[in-house]
């Protein structure tokens, strides 16, 4: 049977997020609780989380979370890393043995900084350098997989139901100001740890619900720019689109939303302000291959905030609620109520309407 990367596997899912606008940190139990009422949306073949602000003591270093198939794979990959990075901390990922999560690979965590000489010789900044290393390691079948590589954040994922994944990774021991979560319902796979979500690149992590119909148009576009869609999942290609548009092109989150979930031409044509009409026409035309069609609801986490976005026909649901400085987002209101019973201002964003939340001191 083929795994992700050998074949494209569509999946349905549950997503959720919680963020403190004040940058207040809270542990991972809350986001894990959100996934319980949405158990029907997963099938035990994948769950995952990403937390932001969880490694303040290492905030200037890239936190690499890695799966290894064997000790040998880890050793050879580690020497590869050593040539490129200063490794300030190298440790086995703390996990909890539970009957619900089994067959785990070797899970390791490194905190690293690229060697300056390596950056100089390639003439790239450290972010681009990390992207290239992660892309290379993940594209090769060397028994090593980087599933998280941002600063002061980390993704945690496994085959299992998300609430079990949270216990497995001891998320109650981490404190972050922003969390995103995913429960997976893949359609035809035995489930693979690397294929679970979120998919993360640098500090950007994406969780996603739905199967997009534009996948190959999007994939073949981003692959022009050095990305390699080795997992062949929607979440992976969406993450690359985000990286391309936000980091490389320097677009704003709102502009990105207007590209990937572009307003219909009929809507653009009906806009009175000619400047706005021209701007939207420009974005659609310039980045036409990055329009995402088909059902999706995504949450994009990044250092300093998050964005939730639905496809323009709104074929997947998402709900937003607030309480104090906290903002909650989920596929279902019940998940929000599981995080905060007395949530206020509950509303459902429209298709293509981005919900962008920033946290203090997070930077942009």
């Amino acid at each position: 049977m083929k795994l992700e990367g050998q074949v494209r596997i569509p999946s349905g899912c549950a997503i959720a997020a919680a963020i403190s606008r004040e940058g207040r940190r809270f542990n991972g139990e809350k986001i894990a609780a959100a996934m319980r009422p949405m158990r029907e949306r997963s099938n035990g073949l994948g769950g995952g989380f990403a937390g932001y602000g969880i490694y303040p003591e290492y905030k200037d270093f890239f936190a690499l979370h890695m799966f290894f198939e064997s000790r040998d794979a880890r050793k050879s990959c580690e020497s590869y890393l050593k040539e490129r990075f200063e490794i300030v901390q190298s440790e086995i990922m703390p996990t909890r043995k539970i009957p619900e999560i089994t067959d785990e690979p070797i899970i390791w965590r490194y905190f690293v900084a690229p060697h300056r000489s390596a950056l100089r010789s390639l003439q790239v900044d450290e972010n681009e350098f990390v992207v290239r290393v992660a892309t290379k390691i993940n594209a090769e079948t060397n028994g090593a997989h980087i599933f998280s590589c941002g600063k002061n954040m980390g993704a945690f994922k496994a085959v299992g139901y998300p609430e079990d994944v949270a216990r497995f990774y001891r998320l109650e021991e981490y404190e972050g100001y922003s969390w995103i979560a995913h429960g997976r319902y893949p359609t035809n796979t035995p489930g693979w740890w690397g294929g679970a979500h979120p998919f993360a690149l640098l500090d950007r992590a994406v969780v996603h619900n739905g199967e997009i119909s534009s996948y190959d148009a999007n994939r073949r576009c981003v692959e022009m720019f050095g990305y390699k869609c080795s997992l062949m999942t929607d979440t992976e290609v969406i993450t690359y689109i985000m990286d391309r548009l936000l980091r490389v092109q320097g677009l704003t989150l709102t502009e990105v939303a207007q590209i990937v979930a572009a307003p219909f031409w009929s809507t653009i044509d009906a806009i009175d302000d000619p400047e706005e009409r021209e701007r939207l026409k420009y974005l659609r035309t310039a980045f036409s291959s990055l329009l995402i069609t088909g059902p999706f609801s995504i949450i994009l986490g990044f250092n300093g905030g998050l964005m939730a976005l639905n496809d323009r026909l709104k074929l997947r649901s998402s709900v937003v609620g607030e309480k104090g400085d906290a903002v909650y987002i989920a596929s279902e209101e019940a998940a929000i109520r599981a995080m905060e019973e007395n949530v206020e201002n509950v509303w459902a964003p429209a298709g293509g309407e981005p919900v962008i939340v920033y946290a203090k001191e997070g930077g942009r």
Partner: protein, 240 residues
Amino acid sequence: MTIIDASNLDHREINDKIREAGEEMTIRGCLGQRFIATGASDKKIAIEGVPGNALGSYLNGATIDVRGNAQDAVGDTMNDGTIIVRGDVRDVAGYAARRGRIYVRGNAGYRVGVHMKAYEDKSPLIVVGGRAGSFLGEYQAGGSIVVLGLGIGDKPLVGDFPCAGMHGGKMWLRCAPDRVRFPNQVLARRIEESERAELRALIADYCRVFDLDLDETTSGAFTVVVPNASNPYRQLRVDN
């Protein structure tokens, strides 16, 4: 009256308890459990908390009263009965409903009343007190949809593409016709004064349930939408 504590029950257990209970009951502590009261006929069910998707699907005459918000697919393929939601409903409420009533005090999501139809002497009715999302009444084939826009301020009453593919039934929107863009397949016009009585009869029960003033609610600008009588699709096909 029976009290069902749903906080540690899954949807099968809840529905078993509904079947075991007498005519009237209150379900407390709902948190996302799906399919509550599916196919129920002779019950009166009050719900506290957030019931999950497909609340009252295939409902067959029962009355459901949700004290807060409900999620997606409320009253999916409903056959008869009443679903009252005192908060909001999300997407696809009343999909393919054949009879019965869905009363929403708050706002409704996308594709409300999609493919709602009528059957024999009964005709379904959806009334939304606040706003409705895009694709309202998509493929509407029968019955009535009313959107009142109570207290919504300047926000649009409905989203984009209302009545896409509407081919039966009637829609009443509490706004002037020029506030909304309609497809060619429908005729949208200002209410005729002679129709006010029909509208009053349609939503009198809704106003009673939510304690609203019927005169005030049925006054002012209304747009009535009905399908364009000529089949708009026939000329698109040629025998081969």
